[in-house]
Amino acid sequence: MTTDGYNEAYVFDGSNVKYTTTLYYPVSAKYVLNLTILKDGTFTFKEFLFGSTLEASGTWNFNAGVGKTKKKEQVNFSIDDVQSGYTYGYNLFNRYEVSFVYTIRELRNKRLVINSSGKIYQNSKGKYITLSTDYIFQQ
Protein backbone atom coordinates (compact mmCIF):
# COMPACT_ATOMS: atom_id res chain seq x y z
CA MET A 1 0.00 0.00 0.00
CA THR A 2 1.41 3.43 -0.86
CA THR A 3 0.43 6.89 0.33
CA ASP A 4 2.38 10.09 0.37
CA GLY A 5 5.59 8.84 1.90
CA TYR A 6 5.40 5.30 3.19
CA ASN A 7 4.73 1.73 2.16
CA GLU A 8 3.08 -1.23 3.82
CA ALA A 9 3.45 -4.83 2.75
CA TYR A 10 1.45 -7.87 3.84
CA VAL A 11 2.79 -11.30 2.99
CA PHE A 12 0.44 -14.23 3.60
CA ASP A 13 1.48 -17.87 3.80
CA GLY A 14 -1.98 -19.38 4.10
CA SER A 15 -2.36 -19.13 7.87
CA ASN A 16 -0.20 -16.18 8.91
CA VAL A 17 0.62 -12.71 7.74
CA LYS A 18 3.86 -10.82 8.04
CA TYR A 19 3.32 -7.10 8.01
CA THR A 20 6.19 -4.77 7.24
CA THR A 21 6.22 -1.03 6.88
CA THR A 22 8.76 1.73 6.65
CA LEU A 23 7.24 3.25 9.81
CA TYR A 24 7.27 0.38 12.34
CA TYR A 25 8.85 -2.96 13.20
CA PRO A 26 7.58 -6.02 11.30
CA VAL A 27 4.60 -7.82 12.85
CA SER A 28 3.39 -11.38 12.34
CA ALA A 29 -0.15 -12.54 13.08
CA LYS A 30 -2.80 -15.06 12.13
CA TYR A 31 -4.39 -14.60 8.73
CA VAL A 32 -7.25 -16.42 7.05
CA LEU A 33 -8.95 -15.82 3.73
CA ASN A 34 -11.60 -18.17 2.39
CA LEU A 35 -13.48 -17.49 -0.82
CA THR A 36 -16.49 -19.37 -2.16
CA ILE A 37 -17.64 -18.66 -5.70
CA LEU A 38 -20.81 -20.24 -7.06
CA LYS A 39 -21.94 -20.71 -10.64
CA ASP A 40 -25.17 -18.84 -9.91
CA GLY A 41 -23.19 -15.60 -9.71
CA THR A 42 -22.95 -15.32 -5.93
CA PHE A 43 -19.89 -15.38 -3.72
CA THR A 44 -18.94 -15.26 -0.05
CA PHE A 45 -15.64 -14.56 1.61
CA LYS A 46 -14.25 -14.43 5.11
CA GLU A 47 -11.03 -12.65 5.88
CA PHE A 48 -9.36 -12.45 9.28
CA LEU A 49 -6.54 -9.94 9.63
CA PHE A 50 -5.12 -8.49 12.85
CA GLY A 51 -8.21 -9.40 14.84
CA SER A 52 -10.55 -7.89 12.28
CA THR A 53 -12.97 -10.19 10.50
CA LEU A 54 -14.85 -9.28 7.37
CA GLU A 55 -17.41 -11.84 6.32
CA ALA A 56 -19.49 -10.75 3.37
CA SER A 57 -21.52 -12.02 0.43
CA GLY A 58 -22.62 -10.66 -2.90
CA THR A 59 -22.51 -11.20 -6.63
CA TRP A 60 -19.69 -11.69 -9.09
CA ASN A 61 -19.38 -11.42 -12.84
CA PHE A 62 -16.81 -11.51 -15.59
CA ASN A 63 -15.96 -8.45 -17.66
CA ALA A 64 -17.23 -8.45 -21.22
CA GLY A 65 -13.94 -7.40 -22.81
CA VAL A 66 -13.89 -3.73 -23.83
CA GLY A 67 -10.66 -1.92 -24.64
CA LYS A 68 -7.43 -3.61 -23.64
CA THR A 69 -8.97 -6.22 -21.35
CA LYS A 70 -9.89 -9.57 -22.79
CA LYS A 71 -13.31 -11.09 -22.20
CA LYS A 72 -13.46 -12.93 -18.84
CA GLU A 73 -9.97 -11.77 -17.95
CA GLN A 74 -11.33 -9.91 -14.94
CA VAL A 75 -13.79 -10.80 -12.23
CA ASN A 76 -15.96 -8.11 -10.64
CA PHE A 77 -17.13 -8.66 -7.08
CA SER A 78 -19.91 -6.65 -5.51
CA ILE A 79 -20.76 -7.00 -1.81
CA ASP A 80 -24.51 -6.97 -1.07
CA ASP A 81 -24.49 -8.07 2.52
CA VAL A 82 -22.01 -8.04 5.41
CA GLN A 83 -22.40 -10.74 8.02
CA SER A 84 -19.51 -9.55 10.17
CA GLY A 85 -17.14 -6.59 10.14
CA TYR A 86 -16.91 -3.50 7.99
CA THR A 87 -16.19 -2.91 4.31
CA TYR A 88 -13.90 -0.05 5.24
CA GLY A 89 -11.89 -1.48 8.10
CA TYR A 90 -8.58 -3.29 8.28
CA ASN A 91 -9.37 -5.95 5.71
CA LEU A 92 -7.74 -5.97 2.33
CA PHE A 93 -9.39 -8.47 0.00
CA ASN A 94 -12.25 -6.11 -0.86
CA ARG A 95 -9.83 -3.22 -1.41
CA TYR A 96 -11.81 -1.18 1.19
CA GLU A 97 -14.76 -0.98 -1.21
CA VAL A 98 -18.00 -2.83 -1.87
CA SER A 99 -17.21 -3.24 -5.57
CA PHE A 100 -13.78 -4.48 -6.52
CA VAL A 101 -12.12 -6.02 -9.53
CA TYR A 102 -9.48 -8.71 -9.79
CA THR A 103 -7.53 -9.76 -12.86
CA ILE A 104 -7.38 -13.53 -13.29
CA ARG A 105 -3.77 -14.57 -13.80
CA GLU A 106 -4.32 -18.30 -13.60
CA LEU A 107 -7.52 -20.33 -13.52
CA ARG A 108 -7.30 -24.07 -13.10
CA ASN A 109 -9.61 -26.67 -11.65
CA LYS A 110 -8.08 -26.46 -8.18
CA ARG A 111 -6.00 -23.29 -8.31
CA LEU A 112 -6.84 -19.62 -8.80
CA VAL A 113 -4.36 -16.75 -9.01
CA ILE A 114 -5.75 -13.22 -9.02
CA ASN A 115 -4.37 -9.77 -8.54
CA SER A 116 -5.53 -6.18 -8.31
CA SER A 117 -3.94 -2.77 -8.38
CA GLY A 118 -4.78 0.90 -8.53
CA LYS A 119 -5.90 3.83 -6.43
CA ILE A 120 -8.41 3.30 -3.68
CA TYR A 121 -8.58 6.87 -2.42
CA GLN A 122 -7.45 10.41 -3.17
CA ASN A 123 -7.97 13.55 -1.15
CA SER A 124 -8.48 17.10 -2.37
CA LYS A 125 -4.76 17.87 -1.98
CA GLY A 126 -3.74 15.14 -4.37
CA LYS A 127 -2.51 12.67 -1.75
CA TYR A 128 -3.60 9.18 -2.58
CA ILE A 129 -3.52 5.55 -1.54
CA THR A 130 -2.85 2.73 -3.95
CA LEU A 131 -3.31 -0.94 -3.19
CA SER A 132 -1.76 -3.83 -5.08
CA THR A 133 -2.71 -7.38 -4.11
CA ASP A 134 -1.78 -10.85 -5.32
CA TYR A 135 -3.59 -13.95 -4.07
CA ILE A 136 -3.21 -17.65 -4.74
CA PHE A 137 -6.20 -19.82 -3.85
CA GLN A 138 -6.39 -23.60 -3.75
CA GLN A 139 -9.37 -25.93 -3.42
Binding site: W60, V66, T69, N76, D80, Y88, G118, Q122
Partner: protein, 194 residues
Protein backbone atom coordinates in the same frame (compact mmCIF):
# COMPACT_ATOMS: atom_id res chain seq x y z
CA UNK B 1 -43.80 -24.35 -47.85
CA UNK B 2 -42.77 -20.74 -48.59
CA UNK B 3 -45.19 -19.52 -45.93
CA UNK B 4 -43.62 -21.82 -43.33
CA UNK B 5 -40.11 -20.59 -44.21
CA UNK B 6 -41.23 -16.95 -44.09
CA UNK B 7 -42.98 -17.41 -40.74
CA UNK B 8 -39.94 -19.26 -39.41
CA UNK B 9 -37.62 -16.46 -40.54
CA UNK B 10 -39.86 -13.84 -38.92
CA UNK B 11 -39.97 -15.88 -35.70
CA UNK B 12 -36.15 -16.24 -35.57
CA UNK B 13 -35.66 -12.52 -36.36
CA UNK B 14 -38.11 -11.57 -33.61
CA UNK B 15 -36.17 -13.74 -31.16
CA UNK B 16 -32.85 -12.20 -32.20
CA UNK B 17 -34.16 -8.64 -32.06
CA UNK B 18 -35.82 -9.27 -28.71
CA UNK B 19 -32.57 -10.62 -27.31
CA UNK B 20 -30.85 -7.28 -28.13
CA UNK B 21 -32.95 -5.59 -25.44
CA UNK B 22 -31.07 -5.63 -22.12
CA UNK B 23 -32.30 -2.71 -20.04
CA UNK B 24 -36.04 -2.44 -19.39
CA UNK B 25 -36.32 0.78 -21.41
CA UNK B 26 -33.93 -0.18 -24.19
CA UNK B 27 -35.11 0.20 -27.78
CA UNK B 28 -36.68 -2.97 -29.13
CA UNK B 29 -34.30 -2.86 -32.06
CA UNK B 30 -31.08 -0.97 -32.80
CA UNK B 31 -28.67 -1.08 -35.72
CA UNK B 32 -25.84 -0.03 -33.39
CA UNK B 33 -24.03 -2.32 -30.97
CA UNK B 34 -24.25 -1.56 -27.26
CA UNK B 35 -20.62 -0.44 -27.25
CA UNK B 36 -21.25 1.91 -30.18
CA UNK B 37 -24.32 3.34 -28.47
CA UNK B 38 -22.49 3.85 -25.18
CA UNK B 39 -19.49 5.59 -26.75
CA UNK B 40 -19.68 9.36 -27.09
CA UNK B 41 -19.94 12.58 -25.13
CA UNK B 42 -22.86 12.58 -22.72
CA UNK B 43 -24.45 15.46 -20.83
CA UNK B 44 -26.61 14.79 -17.82
CA UNK B 45 -30.07 16.35 -18.10
CA UNK B 46 -31.77 14.89 -15.06
CA UNK B 47 -30.90 12.88 -12.01
CA UNK B 48 -31.81 11.94 -8.49
CA UNK B 49 -29.53 10.66 -5.77
CA UNK B 50 -30.77 9.38 -2.43
CA UNK B 51 -28.07 8.76 0.14
CA UNK B 52 -29.35 6.73 3.06
CA UNK B 53 -27.27 6.73 6.20
CA UNK B 54 -27.99 4.18 8.89
CA UNK B 55 -26.21 4.78 12.17
CA UNK B 56 -25.23 2.29 14.86
CA UNK B 57 -28.60 2.70 16.62
CA UNK B 58 -30.45 1.78 13.42
CA UNK B 59 -31.72 5.34 12.84
CA UNK B 60 -32.02 6.16 9.15
CA UNK B 61 -31.69 9.53 7.46
CA UNK B 62 -31.88 10.33 3.76
CA UNK B 63 -30.14 13.06 1.85
CA UNK B 64 -31.82 13.70 -1.48
CA UNK B 65 -30.23 15.45 -4.44
CA UNK B 66 -32.52 16.28 -7.36
CA UNK B 67 -30.40 17.20 -10.34
CA UNK B 68 -31.08 19.17 -13.48
CA UNK B 69 -28.60 19.88 -16.25
CA UNK B 70 -27.25 22.96 -14.48
CA UNK B 71 -28.18 22.67 -10.83
CA UNK B 72 -29.38 20.59 -7.94
CA UNK B 73 -31.81 20.79 -5.06
CA UNK B 74 -30.78 19.24 -1.79
CA UNK B 75 -33.02 18.13 1.03
CA UNK B 76 -32.79 15.99 4.14
CA UNK B 77 -35.75 13.96 5.27
CA UNK B 78 -37.10 14.89 8.67
CA UNK B 79 -35.39 18.28 8.75
CA UNK B 80 -35.91 21.64 7.11
CA UNK B 81 -32.54 21.51 5.35
CA UNK B 82 -33.07 22.45 1.76
CA UNK B 83 -31.07 24.46 -0.76
CA UNK B 84 -30.33 24.80 -4.45
CA UNK B 85 -26.93 25.08 -6.09
CA UNK B 86 -25.26 24.72 -9.44
CA UNK B 87 -24.26 21.34 -10.81
CA UNK B 88 -23.31 19.61 -14.04
CA UNK B 89 -22.15 16.18 -15.09
CA UNK B 90 -20.56 15.16 -18.36
CA UNK B 91 -19.20 11.79 -19.42
CA UNK B 92 -16.90 11.04 -22.30
CA UNK B 93 -16.85 7.35 -23.18
CA UNK B 94 -14.72 5.82 -25.90
CA UNK B 95 -15.05 2.47 -27.67
CA UNK B 96 -11.52 1.66 -26.49
CA UNK B 97 -12.70 1.43 -22.91
CA UNK B 98 -11.68 4.87 -21.61
CA UNK B 99 -14.02 7.09 -19.60
CA UNK B 100 -13.62 10.70 -18.45
CA UNK B 101 -16.01 12.22 -15.93
CA UNK B 102 -16.41 15.97 -15.44
CA UNK B 103 -18.64 16.90 -12.56
CA UNK B 104 -19.45 20.13 -10.75
CA UNK B 105 -21.47 20.20 -7.55
CA UNK B 106 -21.51 23.69 -6.00
CA UNK B 107 -17.88 24.59 -5.24
CA UNK B 108 -16.54 21.10 -5.93
CA UNK B 109 -15.23 20.49 -9.43
CA UNK B 110 -14.00 16.98 -10.15
CA UNK B 111 -12.42 15.57 -13.26
CA UNK B 112 -11.63 11.89 -13.15
CA UNK B 113 -10.72 9.26 -15.69
CA UNK B 114 -10.23 5.54 -15.96
CA UNK B 115 -11.52 2.51 -17.79
CA UNK B 116 -14.94 0.98 -18.31
CA UNK B 117 -16.25 -2.41 -19.34
CA UNK B 118 -19.57 -4.17 -19.54
CA UNK B 119 -20.26 -7.05 -17.21
CA UNK B 120 -21.06 -10.42 -18.69
CA UNK B 121 -23.87 -12.90 -18.23
CA UNK B 122 -23.46 -14.71 -14.94
CA UNK B 123 -26.30 -15.50 -12.58
CA UNK B 124 -29.29 -13.23 -13.01
CA UNK B 125 -27.29 -10.56 -14.83
CA UNK B 126 -27.88 -10.19 -18.57
CA UNK B 127 -24.84 -9.75 -20.78
CA UNK B 128 -23.85 -6.08 -21.10
CA UNK B 129 -26.69 -4.74 -18.95
CA UNK B 130 -24.23 -3.37 -16.36
CA UNK B 131 -21.31 -0.99 -16.83
CA UNK B 132 -18.31 -1.30 -14.53
CA UNK B 133 -16.04 1.74 -14.13
CA UNK B 134 -12.57 1.89 -12.55
CA UNK B 135 -11.10 5.32 -11.97
CA UNK B 136 -7.35 5.87 -11.83
CA UNK B 137 -6.93 9.65 -12.01
CA UNK B 138 -8.62 12.43 -10.06
CA UNK B 139 -7.96 16.14 -9.89
CA UNK B 140 -9.83 16.28 -6.58
CA UNK B 141 -11.05 14.01 -3.81
CA UNK B 142 -12.53 10.63 -4.64
CA UNK B 143 -14.72 9.96 -1.62
CA UNK B 144 -17.81 12.13 -2.02
CA UNK B 145 -20.92 9.96 -1.91
CA UNK B 146 -23.02 12.49 -3.84
CA UNK B 147 -20.82 12.39 -6.94
CA UNK B 148 -21.23 10.03 -9.90
CA UNK B 149 -18.52 7.67 -8.60
CA UNK B 150 -20.47 7.21 -5.34
CA UNK B 151 -17.36 7.98 -3.28
CA UNK B 152 -15.43 5.02 -4.65
CA UNK B 153 -12.81 4.29 -7.28
CA UNK B 154 -14.60 1.19 -8.58
CA UNK B 155 -18.33 1.26 -9.19
CA UNK B 156 -21.11 -0.06 -11.37
CA UNK B 157 -24.37 1.13 -12.88
CA UNK B 158 -27.27 -0.81 -14.30
CA UNK B 159 -28.03 0.48 -17.79
CA UNK B 160 -31.78 1.01 -17.75
CA UNK B 161 -31.96 2.57 -21.19
CA UNK B 162 -29.36 2.76 -23.93
CA UNK B 163 -30.20 4.51 -27.16
CA UNK B 164 -28.03 6.21 -29.72
CA UNK B 165 -28.46 9.65 -28.13
CA UNK B 166 -30.00 8.91 -24.75
CA UNK B 167 -28.92 6.80 -21.80
CA UNK B 168 -30.31 6.17 -18.32
CA UNK B 169 -28.07 4.72 -15.61
CA UNK B 170 -29.29 3.62 -12.22
CA UNK B 171 -28.54 1.73 -9.04
CA UNK B 172 -30.92 0.75 -6.30
CA UNK B 173 -30.29 0.79 -2.53
CA UNK B 174 -26.68 -0.15 -3.05
CA UNK B 175 -24.53 -0.48 0.02
CA UNK B 176 -21.52 1.77 -0.51
CA UNK B 177 -19.79 1.71 2.82
CA UNK B 178 -20.03 0.01 6.17
CA UNK B 179 -17.73 1.46 8.79
CA UNK B 180 -17.86 1.59 12.59
CA UNK B 181 -21.54 0.67 12.64
CA UNK B 182 -22.54 3.27 10.06
CA UNK B 183 -23.89 2.12 6.70
CA UNK B 184 -24.21 4.26 3.59
CA UNK B 185 -26.69 3.22 0.90
CA UNK B 186 -27.20 4.95 -2.43
CA UNK B 187 -30.08 4.89 -4.87
CA UNK B 188 -29.53 6.99 -7.97
CA UNK B 189 -30.68 7.52 -11.51
CA UNK B 190 -29.09 9.69 -14.18
CA UNK B 191 -30.41 10.59 -17.62
CA UNK B 192 -27.83 11.57 -20.22
CA UNK B 193 -28.17 12.88 -23.78
CA UNK B 194 -25.64 13.40 -26.55
Amino acid sequence: MKKIITLGTIFILALLIGSCKKGEDDPFFSLHTRKARLAGDWKMTEGKITIGIKDSTGAYASQIYELTEDGYKYSVTGTGANFQRKASLNLSITKKGVITINQVMDSVSIESSGTWDFLGKVGENKNKETISIRLSDFNNQSDLFRTFNKGTTNFMYHIKELRNKRMVLENKEEMILLKNGIGVYITSQYTFVQ
